[in-house]
């Protein structure tokens, strides 16, 4: 009897059957798989399962504790909503890669050792790549290549760290790593870099804002949830309380906000706000108190739902209008009011309005910064909330659904309307979950890894947040003209591998190749001179002697041209006759001389050497 079925395996093995099924059966099957995984999770007992011996090590596929369970729940529930959203997609490949992606993320979450972690880490990177490539545009194919190159680099860092860790400790158990300064912690540093690349910590974040907006409409919804949040999970496991993460997280939160103000693409704005929101979680891991770790976990949980909802809304706009830039959008409210309101629930949630789920999780991280007496961090995180509401709650809806009067709806002639029912239903369920957790936070708090001693709905929290967001609106309204989209792109750290990369290739093709060629030339010239010499060694030697003679004589007799004339003649005739003819008698004489020499040695060697 199978004591415990890996929920990731349900997705991974389940994905194999997708191409076989057709029509209604396929749709039912797609929705049943996440439900099956959720039931499996609900009946799962805590403990360590599925240990497989490998050489002298033990692989652990199922480490089930409260922390891995929370992440397991949210991933599986989100997978259900996202699959419903993507149900109308005809290409089986998209479903297969999405399911492999979800399954491998669950593999990461339940991995109890570093080898298993690494295995699923790589599957996650490669399966998600296809969600970008299936968009089938030039931009998506290029962005996909950059995406996978960054993740391969991250994977190599992780692997290097794991090997160093194994060498120094002899263990592959995945637990919190040692942290400090010095060469002794090199393995931890490598693993750390591997993790924070997936968590999109600047300056290693550009893969996210580069690739997610180029993914397919439904694929992007999947992408928002799994890679970054599984990175938060492994950071909570591996590096809780590592101080540098506090600053990284706070900088991330503000960084995403600033770029989101500048961006002109609806999904790129949302992508920068993934970075910003993950910043709260990273900061929470760095603070490392129970409350902060709870806050990071809770915020990851809530974030997955509202960010999926926001990407679903943006995806609907792209699907129905074929446009994604603010400079080409406006006035959609008339055509899709329902999408607008569902999007706004996501926007209120991410901004942390009371009664929405962002409020019950984000304030937990911010509050733990206050309790740990980190004033600047507190100001940065609270300030990022302002920017979140500004971009997601005000700029995006204003420019997409309303917009300038003088520029009436810029939409295609084809009737722009509400999206297919499955997309609306998916948004509805996700929106319901956002509001439900916002109104009934205990449902979430009970699942958290540590005991929760935090009440979100105190008068000062509610009033403080309301003031913050209401006055953000006032400032937005005064400066709204500054926020209109401009047809530009914003440089980010991907510049280094996009421009510097091009320059590097140029360097390899031009100066480096020239240098290599010049090095190559020396042995070639030497070889050529041997070839030249061996064509006619006698004549060649004469040429060489005469050349030297000419050089030696010139200083004493500058008018002499004797050598030059001979040299010219010799060079002209070279190689000329290949052999000097001699009389046959000379040859016979040489042979006789050789034999005589031999005879002499033969006769005398007894006397001379013995």
């Amino acid at each position: 009897m199978i004591e415990w079925m890996h929920p990731g395996l349900i997705f991974i093995l389940g994905a194999l059957l997708i191409p076989v099924l057709k029509g209604k059966w396929k749709k039912t099957y797609l929705l049943l798989l996440p439900i099956a995984a959720l039931i499996d999770l609900l009946y799962m007992s805590k403990g360590v399962f599925w240990r497989l011996p490998l050489l002298e090590y033990e692989l652990v596929f199922g480490r089930v504790d409260q922390l891995s369970l929370v992440f397991g729940y949210v991933f599986v529930i989100a997978a259900f909503c996202m699959t419903l959203y993507a149900l109308h997609v005809k290409e089986d490949g998209q479903h297969v890669s999405a399911f492999l992606y979800v399954g491998s993320t669950l593999g990461v979450v339940f991995a109890g050792d570093l080898f298993t972690l690494y295995l699923f880490w790589e599957v996650m990177a490669f399966s998600s790549l296809f969600l970008i490539w299936y968009r089938k545009t030039k931009a998506s194919s290029e962005a996909g290549f950059r995406y996978i190159l960054v993740h391969i680099f991250g994977g190599i860092c992780l692997l290097a760290g794991i090997i160093l860790h194994l060498q120094s400790t002899g263990s592959i158990v995945f637990d919190s790593f040692n942290w400090g300064t010095g060469w002794g912690y090199l393995s931890s540093y490598f693993i750390f870099v591997g993790f924070i690349i997936n968590a999109a910590v600047p300056p290693l974040h550009a893969w996210l804002s580069d690739a997610y907006p180029e993914a397919t409409v439904t694929g992007a919804v999947f992408l928002t949830a799994f890679t970054t949040k599984s990175a938060i999970y492994v950071l909570i496991r591996g590096f809780p309380g590592v101080e540098i993460l506090i600053w990284m997280g706070a900088i991330m939160a503000v960084y995403g906000v600033i770029y989101a103000v500048l961006e002109n693409d609806i999904r790129r704005v949302l992508a920068y706000h993934i970075i910003s929101q993950v910043g709260y979680m990273v900061a929470g891991v760095g603070i490392g108190t129970w409350m902060a770790l709870n806050g990071s976990t809770a915020h990851a949980f809530c974030h997955i739902f509202y960010k999926a909802l926001l990407f679903m809304g943006a995806g609907v706009v792209i699907e129905m209008t074929g446009r994604s830039k603010f400079t080409e959008l406006s006035g959609l409210y008339k055509y899709m009011p329902l999408t607008f309101w569902l999007y706004m629930i996501g926007a209120f949630s991410i901004s942390g309005f009371p009664l929405f789920n962002g409020f019950v999780s984000k304030t937990m991280v911010v509050e733990s910064a206050a309790l740990s007496h980190l004033p600047i961090i507190w100001l940065m995180l609270e300030g990022a909330s302002i920017g979140t509401f500004l971009s997601i709650g005000l700029k995006v809806p204003y420019l997409t659904w309303f917009g300038k009067k003088e520029k009436e709806p810029v939409v295609e002639a084809k009737a722009v309307k509400e999206p297919p029912k499955n997309m609306l239903a998916a948004m509805g369920i996700t929106a319901f979950l956002c509001v439900f957790i916002g109104m009934y936070p205990q449902a979430l708090y009970r699942m958290l890894p540590y005991a929760v001693d935090y009440a979100p709905y105190t008068a000062s929290h509610v009033i403080g947040m309301s003031q913050l967001l209401l006055f953000t609106f006032v400032a937005f309204w005064l400066l709204r003209r500054m926020l209109h989209g401009t047809p530009t792109i914003t440089l980010d750290t991907d510049w280094f591998y996009r421009i510097a990369g091009k320059k590097f290739i140029w360097f390899c093709e031009k100066p480096l190749l020239d240098f290599a060629n010049s090095i190559d030339k020396v042995p070639k010239d030497i070889a050529n001179s041997f070839v030249w010499f061996s064509r006619n060694p006698t004549a060649a030697s004469r040429i060489m002697v005469l050349t030297i003679g000419a050089v030696v004589v010139r200083p004493f007799d500058p008018t002499s041209t004797r050598y030059e004339r001979d040299l010219e003649e010799l060079r002209r005739l070279y190689p000329g006759e290949s052999v000097h003819r001699v009389a046959i008698g000379t040859g016979v004489l040489l042979v006789l001389m050789f034999f005589t020499l031999y005879l002499l040695i033969y006769l005398t060697h007894g006397i001379l050497w013995v």
């Binding site: 004033p375 302002i386 209401l470 400066l479």
Partner: protein, 76 residues
């Protein structure tokens, strides 16, 4: 549409006033432990929200215009 807009703005003003008033009342009648200096200022969140939002817009736009924003075909 015009009437609706007027109505919405009136509602906004009411909300703004209510939030500030409630903040002051809570500050006076339910004084809580302030972790930071500025939390002793009544209505700090309102000020921070307003000033912070203007700062974010102005600083981002300045960074964008002078440094970060380029033509769309920059990488092509």
């Amino acid at each position: 549409m015009e009437i609706e807009k007027k109505y919405l703005f009136r509602m906004l003003y009411v909300c703004l006033a209510a939030s500030v008033l409630a903040g002051v009342l809570v500050h006076v009648f339910m004084p809580s432990h302030a972790a930071f200096l500025w939390q002793a200022i009544p209505g700090f969140s309102a000020i921070y929200g307003f000033v912070g939002c203007i700062l974010i817009i102005v600083v981002s736009k300045a960074l964008g215009h002078h440094w970060l924003q380029r033509e769309e075909d920059y990488y092509d």
